[in-house]
Structures are given as C-alpha cells and as structure tokens.
C-alpha cells in the first residue's frame, strides 16, 4: 500500500511540475492544487498506514487494544486541506481578477508592475 501511494505521489508531483511550468496562470493553479494534494498524501503515508483499525478505545480501557491507525497525521492532513482550500480559492479569484484587469493569463505578459523596457 505504501509503495502504491508513493508512486501515486510521484505521479502527482510530476504532473504538477509539468503544469506549473506552463505560461498559463490557470494551468499553474491546477498544478498547485495537485502539488498540495501530493503533500497531503505524503503526510498521510508518513504517519504509517494501518488499514481497517480505527483508533477507538473500547469501554473500560484506557488505551486502544492492539495496533490502530495513527490519528494525528489525519488531523494534520485535514487542517492542511482546509487551509489549502482557502488559499486556492483566493488564488483562483486572484487569477480571475488578473484576467479581468490585465486582459491575459499568460505570465510572460504580466509586466505591469515591472520597470518599462528601455527603448529610448
């Protein structure tokens, strides 16, 4: 299972790098969300996978009996997903505004804030 997920993470990262190298801002954002999912999966796998064993403590016991799944990475991933979702929503709106006011999504053409190329 770990190997499978690792390969998946690798594919996600490769795809996202390919997308982020594009000049189109929208493609860049799609790459970004794939990359953040890869990061979330990394945390998940790093916490060790224990399928089919929820971390529940039976009545009367102080600690779970036997090997159970690690709940902490899942909590971390959940936090990271929420934060990542918020940031991505902002980035999407920003891209939309950029398209509205700059008239382009090509990052090479976004040079409004840069000094003018000296042509004189």
């Amino acid at each position: 299972m770990e190997q499978l997920l690792s390969v998946l993470i690798g594919i996600l990262v490769a795809t996202s790098v390919y997308l982020m190298l594009a000049r189109n801002l929208l493609r860049f954002l799609f790459g970004l969300i794939l990359l953040s999912n890869a990061a979330n999966l990394t945390i998940f796998v790093a916490g060790r996978l224990t399928p089919g064993a929820p971390p529940l403590i039976p009545d009367g016991a102080d600690a779970p009996l036997g090997l159970v799944a690690n709940a902490l990475p899942q909590a971390l991933v959940l936090t990271a997903i929420v934060i990542g979702f918020g940031l991505f929503a902002f980035a999407l709106i920003l891209a939309f505004r950029a398209y509205q006011s700059l008239g382009t999504l090509n990052t090479d053409d976004m040079r409004v804030a840069e000094p003018k190329e000296s042509t004189e």
Binding site: A39, N40, T42, A46, L72, L102
Partner: protein, 497 residues
C-alpha cells in the same frame, strides 16, 4: 502563567474583530492603533518576564508537550515579538495618513491586525505544524493587504507573490510530513532530542534541505527571492513597510530556529550551503538595487542583500556570528520599515516614486532629509548607527574564522549599499525637482501621524547605535540559549526528560 504568552496573540485577534465590525466607522482606525498599543504593552511584559525567568512555555488546552500545541518564549522569540509590536504600532499610526477610506471600508485594519497576529504566533509557537498554520494566517492576511483596492500593478505583483509563496508553503508541508514520519513528533523541543535517534541521518539532511528551501523562499534568499522585488513596491506604503520589516524576517527566524535547534546534525554540509547562499544573496541583492530607479524597488532589493548578512551569521554558527545575526535582525526590521515609511512621505510630497523624476526634498523638507539619512546610513553601516555594530559583529566573526573572502564580500556589499543610498539621496533629495515642485512638509495632510512614527523609529536606531552594549549583551544571552537549548527543552517537556 501562560497568559503572558497568549496576550500578544489574543489582543491583535480581538482588535481585528472589532476593527472589522467598525470598518465603516472612523473609529476603526483608532481600534487598530489601540490594539497595536496594547499589543506593544503585552509584548513588553512578555520581554520582562522572559528576561527575569528565562524560557517560559505554555501548553494550550493543558495537553502536555509533545502532544499538544506549545507556545514558548525564549529570548529570541520575545525580542522578535517585541520588535513586531513596535513596528506594528508605528505603522498603525502611520496608516492614519496613508490608508484611504475605501481601503478602510474593505477591512484594511482587520487584515493588518491579523497579519500582526500571524507574525507574532510564528515567533511564539513551539510546534512545527503550528508554525505552518501561523505562516498561513500571515500569508492570507498579506495576500489581502497586498491587493486591497488594488489596480493593475497590485494584481500583477500579487499574482507573483501568491504563486511563489504557495509553492514554498507546500514544500514546507511536505517537509513536515517527512520529518514526522522519521521522528514521530513535531514539537521543536522533542524534535531536538529525537533527530539524534534517527537511523538514516542522510535522509534527515534531505529533509533539512527541504526546510531550507521552504524558509529560504519566505526569507527571500538567493536564488529564491524573485517574488519580493516583483511585489513589494506595489501596495500602500504602510503595507509595504510592515511587509519589508517583518515578513522576510519570519523566514529568517524559522531558519535560525530550525538550523540551530533541530538540524545541527550535519553542520559541515547544511551550513556550508547556507554560507554560499548568504554570499550570493548579499551580492545579487545589492547589484539588483543598483539597477533600479524606483524608490521602493531599490529598497526591496536591499532587503534581499541584508537578509544575506543574517543568513551569513547563521551559516558561520559561531557564538559571535549568531550574536551578529540576532542583532542584525532587530536593527534591520526597524531601519527597513522606517525607510519604506519615508518613501511614502516622499511620494506624497513630490508625487512620484521614481527617483529620477522627483527631487528637491532637501530644500523643501529638510527634516525629512535628516530622517532619511539616519536609517539610510544605518543600513549602509555608518558608525555610530545601529547598522555599523550589526555589520561589525558579523564581519568580525568571519575574520575570526579566517574566511577572508566572505569578509571581503560583506564589506564590499556595505560599500555598494552606500552607492544606492547615495543615488536616492542625490536624486530624490538633493537635485531640484524636474517639474519645479517645492513641496514643504507643512502641506502634508496628517503630518504628525506620518512624521512621529518615522522619527520614533529613527530615534530607536540612534539609541541602539549610541549604546550598543546592552543590546549586544542581550544578543549574547539569546545566542547562548540558541546554542544550548537545554533550558528550552526542559521548560517545554518538563523536568522528567
């Protein structure tokens, strides 16, 4: 006991909520000033407590470390919180004369307070994942501030700023995941103990490099700094001052924290990388500044070059060099924020920020000229201002290690800093205005609100410069805590360990 630690965080959040509710009301700006003032008082209390009692820690929700979220204040955290509050207070006052009513209605003051809370939280937290969360709080507030009521330029700068910062955040998150997988903990104090037990020390170095890149983007070191000069010259002057003063320094702080406490297993490799990074950062930053003509763009490139000095102090890893890095951090925040505030006054007086198209400030506003000279000379390292001592300590540390070439670079960069400062001085202050405008300070609306913070920060620069001894002694105590984190670890984890 933990209220010392939580107050500097609770106050800005509370101020932010009240300021948001009052955003249509003129009271909103006073809430922001009040909040920053109270935050300053709280951080002074924190500083006093830490000076008297040493490291203090608080377990949030009473979950014992390393399971819960810990807030820790050692001397480095306390001084960074204090300097954040000072800068925040100065900029909050300055905003009276800088922020438009439209920006206020869009929630400027609320975002500003959240930014301060995020920065303070990043300095106070004792947990790596919590640091990530504070980074995000800071980041989302800074996104908002950057493009608030912005035109094309702000959107353009904002896209680059957002894109590169998000990548660094994801890298940071991946690093957290891998480090957790290896050590099973995310508490700084616990990490400092557990990293020594990791079998695969080579893999630990790989993760260390991931953190170095992630924090390097935040700190804007070579070759990861490109977002900074693309964005910092676009927003309101208050916003760019607080960005310039604080945001990159959070990256430097995180580098110092991680690479003194946690990743000290392979100093020969990691800190050599840092050394090269520092040298390139200093040189590229100062060369970039030489090519610019926009007031704030020159200053932005100088942030990069100055970050190089701080990273250099960390890279050398001797007690004296770390003293220099800490001293430099404190001095730099004050000076840099001040220069950006002055750029704002200059813009309002002369109508522009391109230094070739403005001028005449020396004749028409001599007070502003003097107030500019103090931080500008301090930045370049003129005695007896604060920057001189900061550079002196760092250069002395390189000479002690007989790294002649590095010392030469540090000194040469200082010299080239004077070149840029002279350019601003000669063009914006000395030469007559090309359009014959001779604006006096008297004509400035909200004059007091703009001059007082600038003058206050300049006075601080002079105080540090004229009596550096208590500050150096303080930096030495800070460094001692960094190099021997026993007190930090026992305070956080309790005496049982």
């Amino acid at each position: 006991m933990s209220w010392y630690l939580t107050l500097p965080l609770v106050i800005p959040f509370a101020a932010s909520i009240i300021a948001f509710l009052l955003r249509d009301n003129a009271m909103g700006r006073w809430v922001s000033i009040m909040g920053s003032g109270l935050g300053l008082a709280a951080s002074i209390v924190l500083m006093v407590v830490v000076l008297e009692q040493g490291v203090i820690a608080g377990q949030m929700g009473n979950w014992p470390a390393p399971f819960g979220i810990t807030l820790v204040a050692d001397l480095l955290s306390a001084v960074m919180v204090l300097i954040t509050a000072i800068t925040g207070f100065a900029v909050a006052i300055y905003a009276l004369g800088d922020i438009t009513e439209r920006q206020e209605r869009l929630g400027y003051h609320a975002l500003f307070q959240i930014l301060l809370a995020g920065v303070t939280g990043a300095f106070l937290t004792g947990d790596l994942f919590n640091l990530y969360v504070w980074f995000e709080v800071m980041l989302i507030a800074s996104f908002g501030l950057l493009i608030l009521n912005g035109g094309k330029e702000q959107i353009d700068g904002g896209v680059k700023y957002v894109a590169l910062n998000l990548i660094s955040t994801i890298l940071f998150l991946t690093g957290i995941g891998l480090l957790y997988g290896m050590t099973g903990t995310l508490n700084f104090a616990d990490l400092a103990l557990k990293v020594n037990e990791v079998e695969n020390q080579g893999l630990l170095t790989v993760v260390a490099m991931m953190f170095m890149v992630a924090f390097g983007v935040k700190a804007a070191v070579f070759p990861l700094f490109f977002w900074l000069p693309a964005a910092y010259h676009t927003p309101s002057f208050s916003v760019s001052a607080v960005f310039a003063g604080l945001l990159t320094k959070v990256g430097v702080y995180a580098l110092i924290r991680m690479f003194t406490m946690v990743f000290d297993h392979d100093i020969g490799f990691t800190h050599t990388v840092l050394l090269w990074v520092a040298c390139f950062t200093m040189v590229i930053g100062v060369l970039g500044a030489a090519a610019q003509s926009d007031f704030r763009k020159i200053l932005s490139f100088h942030i990069i070059s100055q970050i190089g000095y701080m990273v250099l102090g960390l890279a050398l890893m001797t007690p004296l060099a770390l003293v220099g890095a800490v001293f430099y951090l404190v001095h730099h925040i004050i000076v840099k924020a001040n220069l950006f505030l002055i750029a704002g006054i200059a813009k309002r007086l002369t109508g522009g920020t391109d230094v070739y198209k403005i001028g005449g400030l020396y004749k028409s506003a001599p007070l502003l000229a003097i107030l500019f000279l103090i931080p500008a000379f301090s930045l370049a390292g003129f005695p007896p201002l604060s920057g001189f001592w900061a550079k002196y300590i760092i250069v002395k540390a390189t000479l002690d290690l007989e790294l002649w070439f590095v010392a030469f670079i540090a000194l040469a960069v200082g010299l080239m800093t004077i070149y840029s400062m002279t350019k601003i001085w000669a063009e914006a202050f000395w030469k007559p205005h090309p359009e014959g405008i001779e604006p006096a300070l008297k004509t400035l609306p909200h004059k007091a609100a703009q001059i007082i913070p600038v003058a206050g920060l300049a006075v601080l620069t002079i105080i540090i410069g004229l009596s550096p001894e208590p500050f150096v002694i303080f930096a030495e105590r800070t460094t001692a805590q960094l190099l021997d984190p026993t007190a930090y670890i026992t305070t956080v984890l309790g005496e049982t360990k």
